[in-house]
Chain length 242, copies 4
DNA sequence: GATGAATGAGTGTTCATTCAT
DNA sequence: GATGAATGAACACTCATTCAT
């Protein structure tokens, strides 16, 4: 009834299109309900396709969700790789990777949430190579750190993979703060946070330098804590026990 | 503490005991199969009690698993709080918290895995205030950082909550490296990693100092990559308790 | 704590008391939730006794509910028997049995509801001798009808048991009208209905005589249909199909 | 009726068929085990379909069993309505409704048992509008009685709904006598009982006339108790349709 | 390819019944 | 006798996956 007149993409393209539609729907549903909580039916409905069609494009639920990860990660990875290739300086590389991560979040918080909240999940569950994806990023970054060590830009005693873990762990948890709402999803806050991540990673909390933008702000003593709108940022100044 | 009768536990204590048994079993199963994957039947079997008894002590699956989180987090939180209260120096505090985390992992990788891999996860998964638990740790640590800022031990421009996030993000991801097997779960590797986490967080990758133990090693050029072999092990510099 | 001072009924009486308490509670719960819908726990709570105590007095759920029936029926039966023994005239007997039934309803609609709504139930379910109780009433009445036949008060061609069935079927369904709310539970309506049941059974719909009370009412043409408050009694005057 | 294709039923009809199959199976199981006692698994097995398919066609157990009631009642109702529409005389109407009920029982004792034993039962059992179905029959008949009153065929002082209740109460309890085995399920007994129901309802026990068939029998004193033996059988005086 | 009916194993939850205290 | 914790069979309902059309 409705199928008669379509622009007729070459079969393969039409299919690729469908596949992407389903994948996008999966990301959406996945981010709403989580890995286990989402049903194939939900994905199909979200994608506007028939129930069984999902199984034409994906072997089973695991493959579908695996694909979600892979496409997400590979997109992230390629952006990171591109960013790295545009910079030669170590600090610049670090800065640009953090930038990529924050931009990804700014553009597609849902997708990032999925990636963040489900990495390493599926305890022994036969799921895809999420671990693999994770390993990829770690090792990509580890390569950068090892190179920097060879260039003398970084102390030799550091384990590159661990350094990479600390790097991405910092980024991830920083973004998590936004995901769970502990920090406001405002552009200026995001920017400032990004700078603090870079600074802390490079020079440590003890020697982190202020954001360039914040420098100006510092000139205005009355706005000493621009991180939060009004309500004082941190409640308990002293460790609680309870 | 509460009862003197030694011969047999009074009804109420017996029950409290049962409850704990079930909770422990839940942690176990949970860590093996994850939040959604764990079945009440498994928990009951693991605890060695009848199926229905689980429902005597916990309203439903959600409440049971919620309790797992809460008990796990509160245990971790109280250890962290204790560690903090024993130190006054900022660096020492940082070091001791990292120590607590690593010791927890050394002692009960399963439990840590559960907390690490499931916190904040399961979007709207119905369960308790996992988010709340997460928030608690962040804010506990944020308090420490804020205090350090007041003491002049830390730059004032840092957002304490974000600093806390970077701190725990680093720790978590470092442990994840062990969880997923990218680093060997050997004592010496754990010790060295712990030091690197502390150093990187405090002074940044660029100025991180080598482990005291590793210092000696460095003198021996023939052992250039102590991350993957040897047994130099700088075991637990800080006294463990319990 | 509280058990110290009780009037100390002889053991057997105390127990009989308890038993009755539980039985009453069972009637209550039963009438609210029905045979299958009620849980032993509900009965225990309603009776204010411990969970397991119910099993001291009743072998199992079936026996408990069987007892409910038996006590209900036997009470009804003995009232019916008493009523019958007080009258010698056939019409008077009929009238007094209907009276007993309507009074029982007026006094304890709950109990009647239980008896009415569950007779003959439990399809093949191993339940008690509810059928037995039912049989008892039918045969008691059948005896009366047979006697009346011998006295020449009733045509000989009638099957007494069937006559009894028609009799109690009329009574039951009449009461059901009140139970389900198709007739108002007002005293005057009940009285009038009672008369109509008797008249219809004795002389048939075609020759049923008006209630004595209604006779007076009839004198007042403005109150021609005193069966219902205001809203005209029967909607569709002609058989609907739909 | 709706489709011409003979070769294979179109999808939609196939499904409607399936639905009916399941419904029939539900009636069967239902009549055997009662409302609460029947399990979805039994229904599925009886229908010869997969467990889960039941949930394709019925939201849940309640909806399934609700449908059983509705279809049963509506079938009965339409037969009654048809019978009524074919007769104009009041007595004939009464006679034909009783006939319909007895024929229904003769044809499908199971189904009748279900409707009889479960209507109005299960207090607040959640299921559909069983009460509604009950109300429908009562009001349908009440309409007939009201009409007869207007025609002067019936005393005006009777409450039509109550008359309807007495009518169906008599029928129901008469059938119950067969259901519980107090009367033999033999054709001649059924016929005779049917006549007695009609006569008693119309003219009362006191003036009920003997069955036409039994009249002949009465002439033969040697067959004084034809209720329990013989085979005189006055079969279906009114044409059945079905 | 597309559709959605059909399948059935899996699992949370209830609740009658038992039993140690 | 009283209590309520312990037991476990039973069952409704879900949902990934298959398959006929």
């Amino acid at each position: 009834m409705a199928t008669r007149k379509v622009t007729k993409l070459p079969r393969s393209e039409r299919e690729a299109e469908r596949r992407k539609t389903i994948l996008r729907a999966a990301v959406e549903v996945f981010s709403r309900k989580g890995y286990q909580g989402c049903r194939i039916a939900d994905v199909a409905k979200e994608a506007g396709v028939a129930y069984g069609l999902v199984y034409h494009y994906f072997k089973d639920k695991d493959e579908l969700l695996g694909s979600v990860f892979e496409s997400g990660w590979s997109a992230f990875l390629s952006r990171v790789a591109a960013a790295l290739s545009h910079e030669s300086d170590f600090e610049a590389k670090v800065r640009s990777v953090v930038h990529v991560a924050f931009e990804a979040y700014r553009r597609d918080p849902r997708g990032v949430k999925v990636l963040i909240l489900e990495v390493g999940r599926s305890p022994s569950g036969g799921a895809v190579n999420r671990g693999g994806a994770f390993t990829n990023v770690i090792e990509l970054a580890a390569g950068v750190f090892a190179h920097a060590q060879q260039q003398g830009e970084l102390p030799a005693h550091l384990e590159p993979k661990l350094a990479a873990a600390l790097f991405f762990g910092s980024i991830e948890m920083a973004l998590t703060l936004f995901v769970v709402g502990l920090l406001e999803r405002r552009d200026d806050v995001l920017d400032r946070a990004r700078d603090q991540v870079v600074e802390t990673f490079l020079r440590g909390v003890e020697h982190a330098r202020p954001s360039p933008g914040a420098a100006a702000v510092e000139a205005n003593p009355s706005e000493a804590a621009p991180w939060t709108s009004a309500k004082s940022g941190t409640k308990s100044r002293v460790a609680r026990r309870d």
